[in-house]
Symmetry: C2
Subunit: 189 residues, 2 copies
């Protein structure tokens, strides 16, 4: 195509470290967080992704982010979804795992090495009492001013929504599983 489009590049006059919450019951929360990691890497920004609960089921983003080199790191710290059928770990084991993830988040946050930190599924971890509300609020309130913090998972706590700048609720209109279609690589995991 030979159209002479002038490409504009935005640059905020006032950089602002955002608190972004992606919640709801539909597909596209973690996926959206991964999209932010990809987008950020295009800007040369450094991203640390900490996945709560996830860690027992392979998902493509684990290898996908490796292609983004030193810009994006991902820690899948979990033992699967606590309480679902087939998960053999106790609540205490899940909590120990999630508490280690909270410590990791604190360490990464205070390192100052990242422009964006993503706490994937932390809303779920909170709902399941694997982490405490005070811990999550502490992370939010203690974040470096210009660092962006992205929080995902169903059932975002109202106090977290209250503190956030941008909140999206991803609602399931329909999903392939309702037609007994299995999860497909690249799309669902």
């Amino acid at each position: 195509m030979s159209k002479p489009i002038k490409i504009e590049k935005l640059a905020p006059k006032k950089p602002h470290g955002l608190i972004v919450v992606i919640t709801g019951n539909g597909k596209g929360k973690t996926t959206s967080a991964m999209g932010m990691a990809l987008r950020a890497s295009g800007h040369g920004l450094h991203v640390c992704i900490i996945q709560f609960m996830k860690g027992d089921l392979y998902t493509g983003e684990w290898d996908g982010v490796k292609m983004l080199g030193d810009l994006v790191e991902l820690h899948a710290t979990g033992m699967g979804f606590c309480g679902i059928q087939g998960n053999s770990y106790s609540h205490a084991e899940h909590r120990t795992s999630a508490q280690t993830a909270i410590e990791l988040a604190q360490t990464k946050m205070s390192s100052g090495n990242y422009e964006i930190i993503i706490l994937d599924e932390i809303n779920n971890a909170l709902k399941l009492k694997l982490v405490d509300l005070e811990q999550v609020l502490g992370l939010i309130k203690g974040k470096p001013k210009l660092m962006h913090l992205v929080i995902t998972g169903r059932n975002a706590h109202p106090d977290i929504v209250e503190l956030a700048d941008t909140v999206s609720e991803v609602c399931e209109v329909k999903h392939a599983y309702q037609k007994d279609i299995e999860p497909q690589p690249g799309i669902d995991y």
Copy 2:
């Protein structure tokens, strides 16, 4: 962390080429599509992203996807959002541009080279009459059986929703612009 988590890797018994629609007025539609591209690249799948309307405003994913090598290609074919303040192109010019994008989508789809094709903002292009409903339905109905087709943008047409397997509506609970916070690189673009 020294927990011996056994990692399971799913593999669908029945591969299924999904039609996924991400619509709604909230942040996280294109972002989610980019996340699928990243996730897919981890599986070694080939993705073609065609952005309708977008093309006049730099966004980090343009460079982000380059890091995914030959697996993901992105075509920003547009001239900006048709009809918004500051956009100087006529409806006819936008339509010509979108029609070229439709042809590109048809060519890419019939090449058989991609496991996933993403038509970003095509819902908007349809709403603005830059493409026709029959054209979009034709792409959906004519897609290779095992190829996934991801469609994004506000105001998804009911006929498209009807054909889709998975549909998420991303609802804006709140957004930073409401507090006069400018778009921030890595998060918003």
